[in-house]
Structure formats: structure tokens, C-alpha cells
Amino acid sequence: MSEVIVITSGKGGVGKTTTTANIGTGLALHGKKVVLVDTDIGLRNLDVVMGLENRIVYDLVDVIEGACRIKQALIKDKRFESLYLLPAAQTRDKTSVTPKQMIDLTNELRKEFDYIIIDCPAGIEQGFKNAIAGADEALVITTPEVSAVRDADRIIGLLESNELRNPKLIVNRVRPDMVKRGDMMSIDDIIDILAIDLIGVVPDDEKIVISTNRGEPAVTDDKSIAGQAYRNITRRILGENVPIMDLQAGDGIMGKLRKFFGLKTT
């Protein structure tokens, strides 16, 4: 049984593409057959985050218009045999695709892949409607900021009215030091407001910038704390019961011990 998961947020710049790349790579690490679909037509970026920008020949719009077969447009990942990318078109716009065409495309991909991860564009217009059309599940990304949480709330409402029940929340770029001194909303504050289930918390981590520079998702970096968070999210998607990271753990003696042992328990 394959699963189509859309990664969405409403607001731009909160980490949809990074999350798509990391969750997809994380699932491939577990041996799953995964395809990442970039639906941000006109502003594609999943290709550069994955480090596959030089290998693009055909794109999503080419497939939908029948200019090529799906297999011709799929780009195999540099490192993982079972991971593929279907890039967005860069010189077209979001109206080149309809929700019906996206449903047909995802159904076609279901025949080949265990997981189809869809990177949704920012906004709530056509691109969003296309991205969610074929999805079974939705993950909503937010950061602990008023604007991002507000947009996440709007997206949750729109997902529900489009029959995507029970979206799961990822809180990205959490700064435990700021939460501790009361200058950043905590996970509990955000859950309290959005009233949906949490599937992961990703701490702010400079390694994300470094890994994006290199085009190698942080999930493969054992020393990255954000990478560890993405590995945990991946396991939760696979149905394992993994406790949410305790980000305050860095201070006490246990936190130091954890750091010493290479963040294994976080």
C-alpha cells in the first residue's frame, strides 16, 4: 500500500522543501521506494536542496502534457537507489496543471512507489489545490512565529474542508534557549492554539544551511540535531512510537551526557 503525503504550510520560507527532502531521504534510508514531487511550478527548489539540479531533462508539466513518459522525467538520487525526484517546471506557471491531472499522476506513481511526498508551494491558490488533490495525508509545517502559526491555522482549515482529515504538525526552527526565557512560543503553546496532533519538532540548526549548501539532506548527518529530528519524524511516519525530543535537555547533566554520546537520545 502506497501513501501520498503532502508537505504544506501556507506561509513561505518555513521549511517545506527542506522537510520534503529530509523526510523523503529518511524514508529511503529505511529502504522504502520514494518519489519526491515538486509542485512549486515556476519557483522550483527541491532539485537544488537534493543536489540534483544538473540532471533535469523533463519535468512535471512535460509528464502531464504527455511530452514524455513518467519514467523519463524521474531523476534518481545521487546516493539512494530507491529515491527519485519529479522536478517542477521552472518556465511555466501553476495554472499549467489541474487538480484532476495531479490525482491521475499520483495514482500512476502509486503503482511504483511506497511513498509519494509532495512539496506544496506557499499560498492557498491553484498551486496549493494541485498539491493536495491526490494526497492521503498532510503534514503542516510551522515555525514558532505569529505569522507562520496564523497561516498554518488557515491551511488546517482548508485541508479539513478538502477532506484531508487529521493533518499532522511539524514545528520547525525551535530555539530552546528562547523558549526557556519566554521569548518564543513553546510547542505546547502552538498545539494549544492549532489543536492538531504533533508529528515532530525540529530545532534550529546551522547544519541545515550547510547541508543545503552542499545539496545533501541533513537527515543523513549523524551529528546534526535537526537531522536526528527528521530521522525521528521518518520513523513516526513508518508507524513507530518515538518520543518527541526534549529540547530543554541541553542544560542539565543528562543533556551533557547525551551530547557526549552523540545526541543519540534526543
Binding site: 512565529e145 505569529v146 487529521n166 489543536a195
Partner: protein, 94 residues
């Protein structure tokens, strides 16, 4: 300690509390396309009815539109949550 003292005297609020308050207010608007005036009207009517039976603390009244898990646990539904502090129950209401 210093922080606690300043909070005790009500001088400053954590910025995350400010953020949370502002978010809650803006989301009332966003969620139901309901204006604050509309909520005020609902609030007024509710108080009127309840006052027939009990004395309530109007200043402590809190009414908001929020979301809650539906009974079957399958989804989220909008909810009108009212927190109404009661001063005393009128005898005639019994």
C-alpha cells in the same frame, strides 16, 4: 528571580505571551469570518439569558471561537467556548 519580581508587579509580559494573545485574537477573525462585534452580540445575549438564573461576573467573562477534537476523535470541529464565572445562583432559578 528578577524576571519573576517584575512580572509580580505587572511591569512586563513575556514576548511569547504577547504573541499568543495576539494570535488568539487574530484567529477568532480568521477562523469563522466572525467579527469581534458579532462575538460581542453573542456574549450580550448569553449573559442576558444566564442572568435570569444566576449572578455572573461580567468582567471575568471569556467567550471565544476555537477548535476542538470531534467526539469520534476523527477530525477537528469549531467550538464556541464560554468561560463564565458565577457569583451566585438565584433562588428563583431552582
Amino acid at each position: 528571580m528578577l524576571l519573576d519580581l517584575s512580572r509580580l508587579f505587572g511591569k512586563s509580559k513575556n514576548s511569547k505571551d504577547v504573541a499568543k494573545e495576539r494570535l488568539k485574537l487574530v484567529l477568532i477573525h480568521d477562523r469563522a469570518n466572525v467579527s469581534p462585534e458579532f462575538l460581542e452580540m453573542v456574549k450580550g445575549e448569553i449573559i442576558k439569558v444566564i442572568q435570569n438564573y444566576m449572578d455572573v461576573d461580567e468582567s471575568g467573562l471569556d467567550i471565544q471561537l476555537t477548535r476542538t477534537k470531534s467526539d469520534d476523535g476523527e477530525g477537528v470541529v469549531p467550538a464556541l467556548v464560554a468561560n463564565i464565572p458565577i457569583k451566585s445562583v438565584k433562588k428563583s432559578g431552582k
